[in-house]
Symmetry: C2
Subunit: 261 residues, 2 copies
């Protein structure tokens, strides 16, 4: 196992209202950009190990290669998150793959955004609210109790929006979709989100933080873990991240001074 | 909750070597294609509810609209999995979104593949192997015991490949990435996959079944649930799907005659 797969960060842990500041390990999340015959093909957000296997598996899964021997040469620049392939066959850029646009990304101060539109358009949130932790724990529980499909099939993710009460809840087989349903509902009903919290059953990855930031949601509360990149972005954007929420404990990744017990 | 979010299917359940054929509920998974000003923008794979919220949330999250009032008109054709928007602003097709290519998809007999390349290129597997269930349960346990990062952070997915033994294991923050790492490793080492099984910590969605089929992996074993579309595709492609694997129980979704106790 590579050292870099996890990162030690300072978090605030609450156990039965006891505040403790400790070091904890989180999963590392990085962009990896594939070039094929000097063409920028795709950027994947992944764990930083086995880049070569991941990239070759992607080329195989997407039909760019049939066998390893189709690859004439490859160069993996791990530290830059780049991997370059030379293939026998000509490759055309295909629709449906996310590209990082490396050249245009360099203009911004923050290196944490991997897609240029995000770096351009997203700004830190202002005047963010305090959050009562016990209230959020109750909202999470309420969300899950309402989720019949999850209880019946175990196959979906839940997302909900809370203010003074649990306002709305959606489920979807996709984590991102459940969050987009929340954002769509808020947009349709002209809900102001700057004082709301986003509740999730699933993991907090950088993509979720980006969605929240674009929608001006200042708080994300989850049953599960956050990645290091999600935490770095959230810190930069003034978003409070709380993970591993249980009855009497929670992990505060960012903005811990906004949490009230 | 809409009726369509779950589907009743026939499964085979094993509890302590006792075989039982029963009806069970699985989460439904469907493609939803967004048109904006008559332009095909994206196809999402999602749960079939709240299509309008999902689509508007997507448009907002991706910066196509700022507010609900930017939408002049919308038409949701739920049964076809289509939603059409008329926006005030001009929209250009962007890279990075998966498009279904509706017109070209209709040529094939099976309506289950939502992307035209998959429908064209993937064929049912031939001469698929029998699988000893207890062995697979052991492999899954071995995979998880080896996963330090999962145990440390709770933030990653595991995938492994097994033959007579556990052959290789990868972890990633992304479910799909972990599977692509397996496929890349096999490609690099010229491993034949037609008698191997793919072990997963996470859910079996249609995208995982498609990856397995392209790599000729005949068996998928998971701790978690499968979706209805994954099951339908796996049946058509002769892939054995086993979910909810625990010490003394498992759910066989497809090809149950290949399971040996």
């Amino acid at each position: 196992m590579s050292e870099k797969m996890t990162k030690k960060i300072r978090i605030v842990k609450y156990i039965k209202s006891e505040r403790e500041e400790i070091s904890d390990l989180v999963a590392v999340e990085r962009p990896l950009t594939l070039f094929v015959n000097d063409l920028e093909l795709v950027t994947m957000i992944c764990s930083p190990n086995s880049y070569t296997e991941l990239a070759i598996g992607f080329l195989k899964s997407e039909g760019f290669i049939k066998a390893f021997s189709d690859i004439k040469d490859l160069l993996c620049q791990e530290d830059e998150g780049l991997i370059r392939f030379e293939l026998e066959t000509k490759v055309r850029q295909r629709e449906g793959f996310l590209r990082r646009n490396l050249a245009s990304c360099c203009g911004r101060g923050s290196a944490n955004f991997y897609f240029v539109n995000d770096a351009r358009e997203i700004r830190p949130l202002e005047s963010v609210p305090e959050v009562m932790l016990s209230e959020q724990v109750g909202f999470l529980k309420e969300m899950e109790n309402m989720s019949e499909i999850f209880q019946k099939t175990g196959g979906v993710h839940n997302a909900a929006l809370a203010g003074k009460n649990l306002l709305v809840r959606f489920e979807d087989i996709g984590r991102h979709n459940a969050v987009d349903k929340i954002i769509g509902h808020a947009c349709m009903n002209n809900l102001s989100l700057h004082d709301k919290s986003l509740l999730l059953s699933g993991r907090i990855s950088s993509e979720i933080v980006i969605k929240a930031a674009r929608a001006s949601i200042p708080t994300i509360i989850s049953r599960a873990a956050a990645t290091d990149l999600a935490i770095t972005m959230a810190e930069e954007l003034n978003i409070l991240l709380v993970g591993f929420v249980r009855e009497e404990r929670a992990t505060i990744y960012t903005q811990s001074d906004r949490v009230k017990i």
